[in-house]
């Protein structure tokens, strides 16, 4: 078994008295794309900045590429590419100059790789950063993170500010990184991008890691909404009895159903009537979170489950 690329153990950070993250134990394996999800203030940025040794843990252990980022920071950062959540670049330099500086700090980076990335992302490197829009700045930041072909990419909400076209390009670039056997760890609010890219996701809530799941597992617990349009009004009761169904509302000939897990039993039950249309809605992030919060709350009140306190 190979060593995890990122490993944290009981990682805790308080900013003075204010909570950053609490007891986060996490493993990211080589070659995977790991998504880090959580609402605002959950602690995603805190975790990421701890991995880069920009801030120091209150408690707990960190290993990145098998090394301690505090003791062997230079060695770690040589092999890591990082995009901060709130990207700031030297505003009086051009994109080209910023990347030149970054390349010097890395003792040289192939120019061809910079050119390739700039081309893919359609980044304009000739203009001063100060004159660039948010999204166009983000592109420079992404090139900076990717240009030395790092073993591990740590990206804090990388798609913020990018238009849908450029988001797609970034997804492709990240998939290429995975194809090379390199690893991506990124935070996000956007479920479709997490679904599309990630092998596994970690969900952070109020500073605690509440779940680490594969994407299919995540979908399994997600509550999805569907509308069944029948020829005429249908009795909603049998649908309420189906396991996994959370909610059924009837309006005319239509049933609005919220369901967790497989849609199969609902579709089978519907087939007993004449169905004109079935509309399903992709679960949104909020619903996934809610599903996890519910599970989490249930576990917390389950007396058989050992509770941890701090």
């Amino acid at each position: 078994m190979t060593l995890p690329v990122i490993e944290t153990e009981g990682l805790t950070k308080y900013y003075g008295r204010s909570r950053g993250i609490i007891d986060v134990s996490l493993q990211v394996e080589r070659g995977e794309i790991f998504g880090f999800l959580g609402p605002n203030g959950a602690g995603k940025t805190t975790t990421i900045r701890l991995l880069l040794d920009l801030i120091r843990p209150t408690r707990g252990q960190i290993r990145v590429l098998g090394l301690d980022p505090r003791r062997d920071g230079v060695a770690v950062r040589r092999r890591v590419g990082y995009l901060p959540g709130e990207l700031a670049l030297y505003s009086d330099l051009t994109g080209q100059q910023v990347l030149e500086y970054a390349a010097h700090l890395r003792n040289g980076v192939p120019r061809k790789e910079i050119a390739r990335l700039a081309d893919r992302l359609e980044a304009d490197l000739s203009r001063p950063i100060r004159t660039l829009s948010h999204g166009n700045r983000q592109k420079i930041g992404l090139i900076m993170a990717l240009m030395h072909r790092p073993e591990l990419l740590i990206l804090d909400e990388p798609t913020t500010g990018l238009d849908p076209l450029m988001q797609q390009v970034l997804y492709e670039l990240l998939e290429e990184v995975r194809r090379d056997g390199r690893t991506v760890f990124f935070s996000s609010h956007i479920l479709p991008e997490v679904e599309r890219l990630c092998d596994r996701v970690g969900i952070l809530r109020e500073g605690r890691l509440v779940a680490v799941e594969t994407v299919s597992g995540l979908k399994g617990v997600a509550v999805r909404r569907m509308d069944l349009v029948f020829e005429g009004p249908v009795d909603p009761e049998p649908f309420r009895a189906i396991p996994g169904v959370r909610e059924v509302a009837a309006s005319g000939a239509t049933l609005h159903i919220a369901i967790q897990g497989s849609l199969d039993p609902v579709v089978k039950a519907a087939a007993q009537h004449t169905v004109l249309n079935i509309v399903t809605y992709e679960p949104n992030l909020e619903e996934v979170f809610l599903a996890f919060y519910r599970d989490d709350a249930r576990q917390a009140t389950d007396p058989r489950r050992p509770t941890t306190d701090d």
């Binding site: 900013y15 120091r56 700031a88 330099l93």
Partner: protein
């Protein structure tokens, strides 16, 4: 210019270096142009000096007369110039560290394979180089002024007088630099450094008022500068060394502090 943190930082100071160097240099040049007429009317100006209270003279470097070049330049410029230059030193020092943390670019810098102590050392080296450059431009301006009025001060002395500003202003700048490295925000660093500079200068002016204040003279820090006279009896190497060692110790505090801190704006 983007080859290293040192070069980039120094390059970023280029306008400030020229502005401060030429600005102070022009002041020195003009001051020198007046010297021949002041010297001619020597008695007149010396009467004014005699009429001044001793603490006022202390603020002007304890000069007794305007008739020698050393006393003239000290009284009209060199006595208070370190305080003026300290404004640059302190501002630049805090900007180099806190500016980059608050601006968010420190995140990017420290995400590269460069150690924190190396970042601190390169930035500090750039600060020293920038201050030295300003002092040198200032010295050169005095040299040109000296030649213009046909002064008999040897050329090297003018340059020495320029560089003599460096150890004291660097010390003030290093106080700010070290605190900016170790403590979050700008306020602590700026307030401490400015208090030290202005407080020392004022205290130095008050020392002649009372015998009891006399032992404080050496603690003003400013004393280690003003006692040396590059245009007169010469600089005092021990004093210069003392100021430089002080900066070195402060730099160590900055190095340790920066290594331990969280990078948070």
């Amino acid at each position: 210019m983007l080859r290293s943190v040192f070069l980039k930082t120094f390059y970023d100071q280029r306008k400030a270096i020229l502005g401060w160097g030429l600005g102070l240099g022009a002041l020195a040049y003009l001051t020198l142009l007046f010297y021949p007429s002041v010297q001619k009317a020597g008695e007149f100006y010396d009467q004014i000096l005699l009429a001044l209270p001793p603490e006022a003279l202390a603020f002007l470097g304890n000069i007794r007369s305007f008739t020698t070049m050393d006393e003239y330049m000290t009284g009209s410029l060199l006595s208070y110039l370190p305080l003026v230059l300290a404004i640059y030193a302190v501002g630049a020092a805090v900007g180099l560290v806190t500016g980059e943390i608050e601006g968010g670019t420190m995140d990017i810098l420290l995400a590269h394979p460069i150690s924190r102590w190396r970042v601190v050392l390169e930035k500090y080296a750039a600060l020293v180089a920038a201050l030295a450059a300003i002092c040198l431009i200032f010295g050169l301006s005095m040299l040109v002024g000296g030649l213009t009025i046909g002064s008999d001060v040897p050329p090297g002395r003018w340059l020495l007088a320029g560089l003599h500003l460096l150890p004291l202003t660097l010390l003030y700048g290093t106080v700010a630099f070290a605190l900016a490295c170790a403590v979050r925000g700008r306020a602590t660093a700026v307030a401490t450094a400015i208090t030290l500079a202005v407080g020392g200068y004022i205290l130095n002016g008050l020392v002649p008022l009372s015998e009891r204040l006399q032992p404080l003279e050496k603690w003003t820090i400013y004393y280690w500068y003003i006692a040396g006279r590059p245009l007169g009896d010469g600089i005092i190497l021990e004093h210069v060394a003392l100021l430089l060692v002080g900066s070195l110790l402060l730099l160590l505090i900055g190095l340790v502090g920066f290594g331990r801190r969280d990078i948070v704006p």
